[in-house]
Amino acid sequence: MPNAQFAVYAFLLEIAAWFGGDTLGDHADAHLLWYLVLHGAASLLLASFAILLLPPALTRPRRPVMLLLAGCSYAVPVLGFLGVLGGIFILRGYRAGPPSPSFESVELPDFDPHQHTPGGFRQSGLRAFLSNASAPTASRMGALVALQYVSGRVATPLLRDVLADPSEDIRLLAYGMLDNQEKRINQAIDEELGKFGTCQGEAATPAQRPTMLAAARRLSDLYWELIYQHLVQGDLRRHALAESLKYCRIVLRHEPYDAALMLRHGRLLHANSQLEDAAEAYYKALALGLPATRVLPYLAELRFDQGAHADARRLMNDLSIWAALPRLHPVIQYWNPQ
């Protein structure tokens, strides 16, 4: 036991405080003084012993904890002494695990548009149905085929989910559908790359410039489409982002007042986690005359990503005064409960 001597001395001093005063004769004041000094010293020694038995996390700050323990023993003679000792042993026996050092951060769940889209095609439950390997394959094939009439952005993640399905027919149909989507965009990219190359890229003559800029704009659109439809992931997504950004900047250098392209620039930077630059581009797009309903949702999302929730709420408030798109109403409502 750590420094049990403290405890022994404290006990002996306390005994001396109670009974040693008799040697001082009948002087009541001397009696009291003797008791108070020795009882105080015993309390301090007991606190010195007790603090060593406390879990380390509870001994900081050291001096106030010591004073608290000593104070308890001093203020309530005998019972205070026993109370401190009892408390210490109870704490040792029943103490909880160490508290976590800080809050853990959890990933934000992905917004799941196919579970949410109101009206139109009823997609809720489709993901669950498609991934249910015990459902009849023919019915799942039918559900999969129906996805061809759903937008690529919604259909792609569902198709990708079933690429690892136990049924080969389902896997192959999903692959065929995904491949067709991706092929259409890549063919268009190849065509536009050809046109861009024919105009010698950025070294285009003034006569070639309109064709070159049109090709660059289309290329930025097409690479963005790959990202928007979730057709690329990981390094390929980063590559598509970089390419879209490259061609977007080429056009912006020649047409700096194109508000829609400025918004795209912002969204690309945003997707690339360059949040400050993205915010700047969003404000520029607003300044260039793009309606607030088109820009503010992205700006609010960006502020949310930055952790500036009050700003996000303010922006959504601003948005509510504009005639926002119907699909944004639930989001605006969420941020403005009143």
Partner: protein
Amino acid sequence: MKRPTAREADIALLLEGTFPYVSGGVSSWVNQIIRAYPEYRFALVFLGSRREDYNGFRYELPANVVHFEEHFLYDDLPAREKPRARAGDEPAFEAAACLHEKFTSGAPLPEAMQAFKSVAHAMMPGGQLPLDDFLHSKRSWEIVCDRYRKYCTDPSFVDYFWTVRIMHAPLWKLAKVANGLLEVKVLHTISTGYAGFLGTLLHQQRGTPLILSEHGIYTKERKIDLFKSEWIRDNRNVFQRDPTELSYFRQMWINFFEWMGRFCYEAADPIIALYEQNRLRQIADGARPERTTNIPNGISLQRFAPLRAARPEKVPPVLCLIGRIVPIKDIKTFIRAMRSIVNQLPEAEGWIAGPEDEDPAYALECRNLVQSLGLQDKVRFLGFQKVDDLLPKIGLTVLSSISEALPLVILEACAAGVPSISTDVGSCRQLIEGLGDDDRALGAAGAVCNIADPQGLADAAVALLRDETRWQAASRAGIARVERYYTDDLMFGRYRTVYEQALARAGKGD
């Protein structure tokens, strides 16, 4: 190249779109089989789409090939002379209509097979149902119109009419081939489809025993093509369309190939698959379980074992996809994975070793993808290469296919001590990770990833290339697995029994 001809042979191999015009796993296997039995005289019947799609032999014909003939199903389809009006033989068309009713109603296979027998007989040269009657007779027109009205959910009659013609016309060509084929004792088809249909016709007409060896599952591979094809029209508008149904013409093609497969399964005995999963699939598609069996591929250790000594000491950071550049190999996923691999391992290179002439449009797509991903310096198209030259120079073989059976290329890589990364298709997981407990105890000869998952493929490849110890362990596991389970001696022994039994049946008149 000299084309041998003969009046008779022991075994006729019915080959659709493969040996000797196309290189690849199935062709190598055919080459192996013919050379393994010099005591048998082989006749080869090659079926292709159009003559212009094939440029010269990729393999030298072995000495025991005594006869070779080739037929192109979509050549000479247009009529050479002006058609004349014809009525069409009523009973023959009645039998054809009855057969189609059996397809539509999903009648039991033996019943449909019986109906098919009489139609097939009428389709033979000199029969009551010649091609001209199908193409130009009044009765034929009436049946087409009738079935369009009854069943077709697509509004375009013109598309329906031409789909029916294009789909059926090659069958008369096959009937002609069957009629003129030399005398053989045994028929061996390497797939169902058109080659299997030819085998079925011959089996019915002559009673010759028919062996079916399926590498991939033909109907499944056709389905892949059909799911991906964009030339099949869908003219239904939003009110005519059931969103859960494939376009009518696409479904028609799928049904057509499924029925051809069923007829072949009904005629063939034995029906051989490369591994258990495919055998079960054959049964699900209509094969009788008692006729099915598995004979896995095997390779020659004498050929590949010496390549291990030719390897450099340090593992080359080269990933090689050995295979034809066709959509089923999903070369684009390999190229996409290379983008990620190069980001993580800048010294890595991707090689694609395989002929590009089978699907030039797809090959161009792949090249364009390399360019649009900025990989011009990192991905090389090598064209057809000898595997023996290639294997000592590479660090990993990659197979990104969306469908495979039991790929020889993984076995060859294993035998040469090169680990493989493969998609989880066919028996690839079994080849890389092992099948039973004993097999699995040998360790993994590489890694397996999902189809169309470039990031997963890239991560698996980089993990192996970066960890020399793991790479060496994978190399040893691959060598041990091939030496124990996948040698050609075992395969040849089992096929010898198959041929001997079939020849014995032929002797007894089946």
